[in-house]
């Protein structure tokens, strides 16, 4: 993802005159200054929210100039958020939906992708077109009908109902198909000669070779499911079944106007994801490249 530039060995090293290096130094300084300004704009709001969530009841959160350091940092607001709504339960609901979505996108996306990449069968072009078709239909366009379908299947107000519509997306199938297509055929052919059947070739030979693609699919499915708001808002009706996004909106919209408690709720929803992101950055960036170009 990151551009690697070869430093060509210069036969006759060019030495810039002093005023040029001076300008270069000033340029670098300006660049870091700009980077810091952008950092304050993009990270500052998170920091402010985290700080608000840690401030005690007696501490003034409206003071100006703002005080980023809490005087006496406390976790009481997190406990208060949990007393107001079952926020830990929402967390478990979100985790269940996100993990389930990641697993099913990987498994079923890979199965379909493998068939499309490696098997010749009548109708394969139509199947492929069907998956591409799902990618140009925005969910927002069909949500009314998806709701009606889910209701007739008895999925309304269940976590399964939250997860099923995105259990295997066209994008997951497409990414897996491309991953398998980029593998050399030889290994699978050798396995075929050894008498391995389709499933064994898929599961034991091909799958381990596309781990990178599967990581991208898993991470994107997980994050999408964890962050999604519109569909859970539509399909869930009893507060006990809420996922975190719907749950913290419920907390802030219905129960409290205390920004400390709302801030604690938002931190519970976002900190696990930020941790995941910083641990697995390269897959996130790789996914943007593959998803943006083909999506």
């Amino acid at each position: 993802m990151t551009p690697t530039r070869e430093r060509s060995p210069a036969p006759a090293p060019y030495r810039p005159p002093a005023h040029v290096t001076g300008r270069r130094l000033a340029g670098r300084f300006a660049r870091y200054l700009l980077l810091l300004v952008v950092l304050v704009v993009l990270i500052g709001p998170f920091a402010w929210q985290l700080s608000t969530s840690l401030k005690g009841l007696t501490e003034d959160i409206f003071s100006y100039p703002p005080d980023l350091w809490p005087d006496e940092p406390t976790l009481r607001n997190y406990a208060r958020a949990a007393d107001t709504v079952p926020v830990w339960r929402y967390g478990l609901n979100s985790l269940a939906v996100a993990l389930g979505s990641a697993l099913s996108n990987c498994l079923f996306g890979a199965m379909a992708g493998y068939a499309l990449a490696r098997m010749r069968f009548r109708g394969s072009k139509m199947v492929f077109a069907a998956f591409l078709g799902t990618m140009i239909i925005p969910f927002e366009v069909i949500m009314v009908s998806v709701y009606l379908t889910s209701r007739s299947l008895g999925l309304v107000d269940t976590l399964l109902g939250v997860a099923l519509p995105t259990a295997v997306t066209g994008l997951s199938v497409l990414l897996c198909r491309n991953g398998f297509r980029n593998l050399p055929m030889e290994v699978e052919e050798a396995a075929m000669l050894d008498g391995a059947n389709e499933w064994q070739r898929f599961w034991r030979v091909a799958m381990p070779s596309v781990r990178g693609t599967l990581s991208v699919v898993a991470i994107f499915s997980f994050v999408f499911a964890w962050d999604d708001f519109l569909w859970p808002l539509i399909v869930l009706s009893s507060p006990d079944n809420y996922t975190l996004t719907v749950g913290i909106q419920y907390l802030s919209g219905t129960f409290t106007s205390d920004q400390r408690v709302i801030a604690a709720g938002t931190m519970i929803a976002v900190l696990p994801l930020l941790a995941l992101f910083f641990a697995l950055q390269k897959f996130f960036f790789r996914g943007v490249g593959e998803g943006a170009v083909k999506g």
Binding site: V38, V41, F108, V127, G133, V141, I142, T166, Q249, V288
Partner: protein
């Protein structure tokens, strides 16, 4: 290649195909059908021809929501094409700690729109930090109603969309910038072209296809705006629902206990045509690009 047992490939694609048919393609066909009926969420519904579309043409709320959405797209797209490009140029050079900056700039992308919306609700509220800062700088004497005035609410939502999307398109641009041949820059530099000149005559032409891609992606995304407006207004879409978007109106009209599925499906088709139009535009523009 395998072809002896024809059922096997179908077993492999079956789960994914089933989900695609039941939760995407089927509902799409259903949406098209329902758009010509007076069905409600309670069921029933008879064929009513173009009635829904005639009603839609007269529906003030629809036109208002469509206008809001169009404005949203018009404000978001230029910002999304330009700002992340500048950001990408800023973090493109491999200087010390730039990787950390890139990762940090991306973090708003990872967060849910609900989290981001609630964070900004607090920052933009009447006693929030933004108003406090503006008052502290003596720019204003009374707090600005960022969240309670319909127009300002829309503008705030645009700001939040752009703020959250910057990092995503920055990464898209970084990939494109990495493919711009370095020799072009060097040649221009030898010719004495300055930084701005090189940006206009080397960088921009080289990454124009990516700019078109970003414009399309952000146009489709902002045409579907919902969560920003919903969260910033605490579910109300501003006073009297005046800041409602198309998706907001579809949900309001078509879901809930006595939702009008038929009418909402007609609204949905309008949204579909709009997003499809944006997507077709990109293929069209890219083709022209190739020809020239």
């Amino acid at each position: 290649m395998i072809g002896r047992r024809p059922a096997i490939p179908w077993l492999f694609v079956a789960p994914a195909l089933l989900v695609a048919l039941v939760f995407s393609l089927g509902p799409f066909v259903n949406t098209v059908v329902l758009a010509f009926t007076n069905a409600s969420t309670l069921g029933g519904g008879t064929f009513t021809g173009l009635d829904n579309f005639a009603r839609l043409a007269e529906d003030q709320k629809f036109w208002h929501a469509l206008g809001n959405t169009a404005l949203y797209v018009l404000l978001c797209v230029p910002a999304m094409v330009v700002l992340p490009l500048l950001l990408a140029l800023l973090v493109q050079k491999k200087i010390f700690a730039v990787g950390i900056f890139r990762a940090l700039f991306y973090s708003p992308v990872v967060a849910s729109m609900v989290v981001v919306g609630l964070i900004w609700s607090w920052l933009l509220s009447s006693d929030g930090l933004v108003n406090a800062a503006l008052r502290g700088l003596n720019v204003i004497s009374e707090p600005l109603p960022f969240l309670t005035d319909a127009d300002l609410l829309l503008l705030s939502a645009v700001g939040v969309t752009v703020w959250k999307g910057l990092g995503y398109y920055m990464v898209v641009y970084l990939a494109a910038l990495a493919d711009v041949p370095r020799e072009h820059h060097e040649a221009a530099q030898v010719d004495g072209a300055g930084l701005l000149r090189r940006f206009w005559s080397v960088t921009v032409p080289a990454i124009r296809p990516t700019m078109v891609l970003v414009a399309t992606l952000s146009a489709v995304a902002s045409a579907k705006v919902f969560a920003e407006i919903y969260v910033l207004s605490n579910g109300s879409a501003g006073p009297g629902g005046q800041a409602a978007s198309i998706v907001y109106y579809i949900r309001e009209a078509g879901l809930g206990l006595n939702g009008e599925s038929g009418y909402a499906s007609a609204l949905s088709l309008v949204l579909f045509v709009a997003t499809l139009g944006f997507s077709l535009l990109i293929t069209r523009l890219n083709r022209q690009e190739d020809r020239s």
